[in-house]
């Protein structure tokens, strides 16, 4: 019948064998899987495949079109590169979580119905959490926990949206949804959380830098790009996305300038790059969608490359803070060169990858005369060069008068190979744009290498670099500091503590108040009342008689006590009970 398999199945089912394989075989196997996967993917013809009836739903596990295919290709490529990169760790958790995570992403982009889409979406999130947990530090466990909570919220939002949308429209196909009605808004926000929209973004900068060295490379590739895919599929041309994307591109660069942890700088710049893609989707013309997809394709590789080079430094030095690094070009020249290629690519230098992808989005914005977003994106493009293009390589490999303070070895061979492949791809994509343009969702009629474009971009970059140089030389450039910069996660991290305090002092306060007044106060009083009440009443009647008659006056205190005790334990002598009963009978008879 079919001579191909669902791409997600190859990754997820294939991964289950990994723990049982011995050393060398395992290494070959993990590299073989993504290669087989890619061959399989390219073999799948356009159209709907792997259709299953589940309950009353018709699931489509393999909906193939040009948009799905280009995302599938890049997901396989980056899996392959990242797996080479993590070979030396030989960590089964990383392998398994990585494959499941990538498999989840492949499942999402191939899903033809919202039910299997949601399943893979959550599968992706859950498996990504293990890449953070695998670091096994106290901080990473806490970050993974927050990550899980945020994504659980996002997942529930998405699920509610899907249910409402499906009930209202009767359609659960993964297709254009657009903003109309509650369901579509909830789906929109569910996508937005994974896409790291402003104010919904802090899970990313919180958790990614806490993951394992290889885990961060995996993470940088899939979650946000899957969300970009989902937006491109369901919400192309949705105007709010233009403004959301513009904000995403602009605000993180300010944080990136003052952030000390270089992996966190890269996390901010990841949001900044995804912002460009979101703007492209919001514009929604063929040129803009092509630009968004092309930029996602390039970003996966150059952002992976940057995370890999900083990760390699971290592997050798154990540090990722700008304050602790510098001067490593002496010891890690190849890593340094790869990092510079990544930096040039993200900055969109001509002949490097982002130059041919970012310009599609900029041109699409210019064509429609969206000049406010255009200006802000240009600002963001200059800013990204500033923090990712210069700051990352400068503070890691140069800087601080060129001294890390110790000699280190060059990165392990497998890491160098992985970075080398990624660097080669960055240059290849940038220098031969027709390859990437050929696999984009729509026909491309665009020439990035025009005189005006090349010169304009070079001017922008060189004068941004000049700003950096002048500010550095004049000492105005903000010194790196050991510090933490609060972001939107402030609200749930401090808010969580506040909620804890409120619940602690509030609910526990009520609890102890009730304990004091009801359990210990009223109940005790009630108990005393029933124990001593009747006795005291009787005593009040008897006492004046005692005093009048002088009966028991010598020992009245002990007499009283004995009297009360009798009442408390209902320990009456037969005689007095008989007298009392007679008295009651007389009362009944007389009245």
């Amino acid at each position: 019948m079919n001579n191909f398999l669902p791409p997600a199945a190859i990754f997820i089912c294939g991964a289950m064998l990994i723990p049982f394989l011995p050393g060398r075989v395992k290494q070959v196997y993990v590299l073989l899987l993504p290669v087989l996967g890619l061959v399989n993917l390219l073999n799948i013809p356009m159209g709907s495949h792997f259709q299953v009836d589940f309950l009353q739903y018709h699931l489509v596990l393999g909906e193939m079109d040009r948009l799905s295919r280009v995302f599938g290709i890049i997901f396989h490529i980056i899996s392959f590169i990242t797996l080479i990169y993590i070979l030396n760790f030989d960590n089964n958790t990383e392998y398994l979580a990585g494959f499941c995570y990538a498999g989840g992403a492949l499942g999402v982009i191939m899903a033809g119905d919202l039910i299997s889409f949601f399943f893979f979406w959550e599968f992706l999130t859950v498996s990504s959490m293990f890449l953070i947990l695998a670091r096994k530090t106290k901080k990473s466990v806490a970050a993974a926990f927050r990550y899980a909570l945020v994504h659980a919220t996002g997942g529930l939002c998405l699920l509610a949206g899907i249910i409402i949308h499906t009930t209202q429209t009767g359609s659960y196909a993964v297709a254009h949804i657009g903003l109309n009605g509650l369901g579509s808004y909830l789906i929109f926000i569910g996508f937005g959380i994974n896409c790291a929209w402003p104010l919904l973004h802090s899970w990313l900068v919180d958790a990614y830098p806490e993951a394992t060295i290889g885990g961060t490379v995996f993470l940088s590739a899939f979650t946000t790009k899957t969300a970009v895919y989902a937006l491109a599929r369901a919400y192309p041309g949705t105007t709010p996305l233009i403004w959301i994307g513009t904000a995403m591109a602009a605000f993180p660069i300010f944080y990136a300038v003052i952030e000390n942890d270089l992996r966190r700088v890269l996390a901010y710049s990841l949001i900044n790059q995804v912002g460009f893609m979101v703007v492209g989707i919001g514009i929604g013309t063929e040129l803009a969608i092509n630009g968004a997809v092309a930029h996602a394709f390039c970003d996966v590789i150059f952002k992976g490359l940057l995370f890999m080079s900083v990760g390699a430094v971290m592997y050798r030095t154990g540090k990722s803070n700008a304050t602790d690094l510098g001067g490593l070009y002496k010891y890690m020249p190849i890593t340094c060169a790869c990092c510079i290629v990544g930096a040039a690519s993200i900055s969109a230098f001509p002949l490097f990858s982002a130059f041919i992808s970012k310009s599609l989005i900029m041109s699409a914005a210019a064509e429609l005369g969206l000049w406010v977003p255009w200006f802000i994106l240009l600002f963001a493009a200059a800013g990204v060069f500033h923090h990712a293009g210069i700051k990352i390589p400068f503070f890691t490999f140069f800087g601080h008068d060129g001294d890390y303070g110790g000699e280190v070895e060059e990165a392990p061979k497998n890491m160098l190979v992985a970075m080398g492949i990624a660097a080669g791809l960055c240059i290849f994509l940038g220098s031969f744009p027709s390859f990437l343009y050929g696999i984009l969702p729509f026909e491309v009629d665009y020439h990035p290498y025009t005189y005006g474009h090349v010169i304009g971009q070079l001017q922008l970059l060189f004068f941004s670099a000049m700003a950096f140089t002048l500010l550095m030389l004049s000492g105005i450039y903000p010194a790196e500091m050991r510090s933490l910069n609060v972001d939107a996660d402030y609200f749930y991290r401090k808010g969580g503590k506040l909620a804890y305090v409120i619940f602690d002092s509030g609910l526990n306060g009520i609890n102890s108040f009730v304990n004091k007044t009801v359990a210990q106060g009223w109940t005790a009083r009630l108990s005393r009342f029933y124990s001593f009440g009747p006795g005291r009443v009787a005593l009040a009647v008897v006492k004046p008689i005692w005093q009048l008659t002088g009966f028991g006056s010598k020992e009245s205190i002990t007499g009283e006590e004995r009297f009360l005790k009798k009442y408390q334990y209902a320990n009456f002598s037969i005689g007095s009970t008989a007298v009392f009963a007679l008295g009651v009978l007389l009362l009944f008879i007389l009245f």
């Binding site: 660069i253 300010f254 944080y255 300038v257 003052i258 070009y329 002496k330 041109s363 210019a366 064509e367 000049w371 255009w374 240009l378 600002f379 200059a382 800013g383 500033h386 140069f398 060129g402 000699e407 025009t450 005189y451 005006g452 010169i455 304009g456 971009q457 070079l458 001017q459 922008l460 970059l461 060189f462 004068f463 941004s464 670099a465 000049m466 700003a467 950096f468 140089t469 500010l471 105005i476 450039y477 903000p478 500091m481 050991r482 510090s483 933490l484 910069n485 609060v486 972001d487 991290r493 401090k494």
Partner: protein
């Protein structure tokens, strides 16, 4: 032995050469706009030196705002959340 091994950027001279080349390229890139005119979508893209000035000003503003506005607002101790 470590002391004797001089690396490329340990020499101040090399840094000066690099800076000279860098500023030289900047001057050329700026000057070229007055000679050849670009085709563009937006009218201001045709202004000579538009991209150069924008890049420079944007980055200076970026750094100043980050340093003097954002950092005082958000900077905390490293163990702030602990």
């Amino acid at each position: 032995m470590q002391q004797e091994q001089k690396h490329l950027w340990d020499e101040k001279k090399n840094i000066v050469i690099l800076l000279k080349i860098f500023f030289g390229i900047c001057v050329v890139l700026f000057a070229v706009d007055f000679v050849v005119h670009k085709k563009a979508h937006m009218p201001w893209e045709k202004w000579p030196g538009f991209y150069a000035v924008y890049g420079l000003v944007a980055c200076v503003i970026l750094v100043l705002v980050a340093k003097y506005v954002l950092r005082p607002l958000v900077k905390r101790d490293e163990d702030y959340y602990e």
